[in-house]
């Protein structure tokens, strides 16, 4: 069949004429300098801070430096085809990302675009990545617990919904493990989780995603990835993107948990961008507003008042230290912003005491009021007895002759350390934590060999699941640790201990 070229041309012309084309007036500028993920643009006189700009190759950037005659933008692409003199158009839109339940179970980049190969995200809801944190009037104090499932944390450093709790420590000592365990433990708790990976290797992120999938945690989790090979601009905006996504749930009256892994790399990315934009460097070459960088992000985590829905965002920022030095610039900044910190110590980690939480300098400033009442009563003196044990342990190393009371205290302390050990990806319910801590504090574990404690623990939990399902519910929901509850708890442990000891012998 012969093609009717005239007809095709006239059809196309008709299409063009029918097109509702009203040219908009847009603010423009010309590229003056491009390189290393930033562009400096002459013009764009009407641009707003944080506004998106369109590059000639169709990629986008964001204006973050407004000076007379020149605008500094960060690029979300490699910018290899951009050259001097190219036309840059403003979009009139402040940087925003897709939000909503459609993102649940997905892995997205810092722009909210899917990177998991599961197709497009069909949402019509967007939120700006920068948003002012709620004021005093719209907030409520933290009152509902957020269980991490980790004994060392839930007993001594409790976290409440809406709290910001820093996880800090050297490299490779289990910071991410705590965050991932916390996400896994939110199954069935109506908490939407967000894991923001900043500047991490893609292989590390893939491992985390697989672990979350295996644990069934991807059903309520979104992963935001800005990898080590992504431009610094992507690393810089990734936590704000994650926060915008979490805010959607908070303003819907729901609870969200967000993990920023980690903010040290976020600060590095911001330092890189700032230096390229020729902002004056300050301490450790960070720009002057590096405190505000993290404070404006973490302030967005809050518990809203009932008048505006009562939703919450709990933030678990992660900071990596060098040789346990918490007094460096970025760690001290983030410590001062957050409501407490979980300090992980490499010495404990390498001694096999995992999770390597140093209970002495870890603290939760507001979580106490959100702790389950029974747990609060049962675990109240655990931190003190651990501190006493550490003191005595140091003393016992030099003294050979110890009195009976000191020996007993040392024995109890060693059992406490053993009880607080917990394998990775095995979060524990509150009721089981209460049971084992009660057993420890009341001396019910004193006649069990230290090496047998973990086995006893495991079997006690199985026993509780088999025989005391309803009682577990009582332990979690009771407003007070009544003598009746205590009696039943003691009986449960003693009954099982009898079974266990007879089987052992």
């Amino acid at each position: 069949m012969k093609l009717d070229v005239k007809k095709i041309t006239s059809n196309f012309q008709e299409q063009l004429e029918n097109l509702n084309f009203k040219p908009d007036s847009i603010d423009t500028g010309r590229v003056a300098l491009v390189g290393d993920g930033v562009v400096q643009v002459n013009g764009l006189s009407g641009i707003k801070m944080g506004e998106m700009v369109e590059m000639p190759d169709g990629s986008f950037g964001m204006a973050i430096n407004l000076e007379q005659g020149v605008v500094g933008c960060i690029l979300f692409s490699d910018g290899k085809t951009i050259k001097e003199g190219d036309l840059v158009k403003s979009t009139g839109r402040i940087m925003e990302v897709p939000v909503g339940t459609e993102l649940t179970g997905r892995v997205v980049n810092a722009l909210g675009q899917p990177v998991d190969g599961k197709g497009p995200i069909n949402t019509d809801k967007f939120r700006p990545i920068e948003h002012k944190a709620e004021g005093v009037i719209n907030r409520k104090s933290v009152s509902t617990p957020l269980q991490t499932g980790i004994k060392a944390i839930d007993t001594m450093i409790p976290i409440g919904r809406g709290q910001r709790e820093l996880i800090i420590g050297d490299r490779q000592i289990g910071k991410t493990a705590i965050a991932v365990d916390t996400i896994i433990n939110q199954k069935g708790q109506n908490v939407h989780c967000f894991y923001v990976a900043i500047g991490q290797k893609q292989s590390t992120v893939a491992t985390v995603v697989n672990k979350l999938k295996e644990a069934g945690a991807m059903d309520y989790t979104t992963v935001v990835v800005a990898g080590a090979s992504d431009p610094a601009a992507m690393n810089f905006i990734a936590p704000y993107t994650g926060c915008a996504m979490a805010e959607y749930f908070m303003y819907e009256g729901k609870d969200a948990l967000i993990v920023y892994d980690d903010l040290s790399k976020h600060a590095w990315a911001y330092r890189e961008v700032s230096l390229l934009l020729r902002r004056p460097p300050g301490r450790e070459a960070y720009p002057g507003d590096v405190f505000y960088l993290h404070s404006r992000l973490l302030e967005r985590a809050s518990r809203l008042s009932d008048a505006i829905g009562g939703g919450s965002i709990t933030a678990l920022p992660v900071i990596e230290t060098q040789a346990n030095d918490v007094s460096a610039y970025i760690p001290t900044n983030v410590i001062s912003i957050t409501d407490g910190q979980i300090f992980l110590e490499s010495e404990l980690f390498y001694a096999g005491k995992r999770p390597a939480v140093n209970a002495g300098i870890s603290v939760s400033r507001v979580g106490g009021s959100a702790q389950v009442p029974v747990m609060k009563k049962v675990a109240g003196n655990l931190r003190l007895s651990l501190a006493k044990f550490r003191e005595l342990e140091a003393f016992a190393q030099v003294g050979s002759d110890l009195d009976a009371q000191t020996k007993a205290q040392l024995e109890r302390g060693q059992r406490a350390v053993e009880v607080l050990k917990q394998p990775q990806y095995r979060p524990l319910s509150v009721s089981k934590q209460i049971a084992i801590v009660y057993a420890l504090n009341t001396g019910l574990l004193d006649d069990i060999e230290i090496k047998d404690i973990s086995e006893f623990e495991e079997k006690l939990y199985t026993y509780m699941d088999d025989k005391k399902k309803d009682f577990q519910e009582v332990l979690t929901s009771a407003n007070k640790f009544t003598p009746e509850i205590e009696k039943e708890l003691k009986e449960t442990i003693e009954n099982y201990k009898t079974i266990w000891l007879s089987a052992k012998n």
Partner: protein, 179 residues
């Protein structure tokens, strides 16, 4: 050279020109000097003269440009050659233009078309814009065949795109979103 230094130089240039009531002349002559940058060998030759003394450079500038170049620009030219920064002149010129238009409340228009316009059409467009604007205007006409047809109108930084390429681009986006 940092753009901030270029901006400061442009500001100083404007102040000196204003003091001598030569802002318009400097603006026009700067545009003329920019045309010299199309001949890269001419600029390279000049840039390699930075080792000469100021007196020698003065003489060389005088001999090259004669009386045609404004004294303020002559001094600027000598200073840029001596400090090996002649390539910064287009940036300084851009900033000067920005300051000049802003300070003297001049609306700066640039009209880009796919093909060169004839004189009649240029006059027609110019008078149309003049009648719509109640301020002094400056219009520059340029061509860019990637527009295919129609025109792009820049008023200072604001672009109103009436080009065929923009229309096609919109059609492309609509087709993609429809898919």
């Amino acid at each position: 050279m940092n753009h901030k230094i270029s901006l400061k130089l442009a500001k100083s240039l404007y102040q000196v020109a204003l003091k001598n009531k030569q802002t318009e002349e400097v603006f026009e002559q700067l545009n003329g000097l920019l045309e010299l940058f199309n001949d890269q060998s001419f600029i390279n030759n000049w840039s390699s003269q930075s080792a000469l003394s100021n007196d020698q450079l003065d003489k060389l500038t005088e001999d090259t440009f004669g009386k045609s170049l404004n004294n303020i620009l002559k001094n600027l030219w000598v200073m840029l050659v001596a400090s090996n920064c002649l390539n910064e002149l287009p940036v300084i010129s851009k900033y000067y233009q920005y300051i000049y238009f802003k300070e003297e409340n001049i609306a700066n228009f640039e009209i880009i078309t796919a093909n060169k316009l004839d004189e009649k059409l240029i006059k027609e467009i110019t008078s149309k814009i003049e009648s719509n604007k109640k301020q002094k205007i400056y219009i520059k006409f340029n061509t860019d065949n990637s527009l295919i047809g129609g025109m792009q109108i820049f008023e200072n930084d604001i672009l109103t795109d009436h080009s065929l390429s923009a229309k096609l681009n919109k059609l492309r986006k609509e087709i993609i979103s429809y898919q």
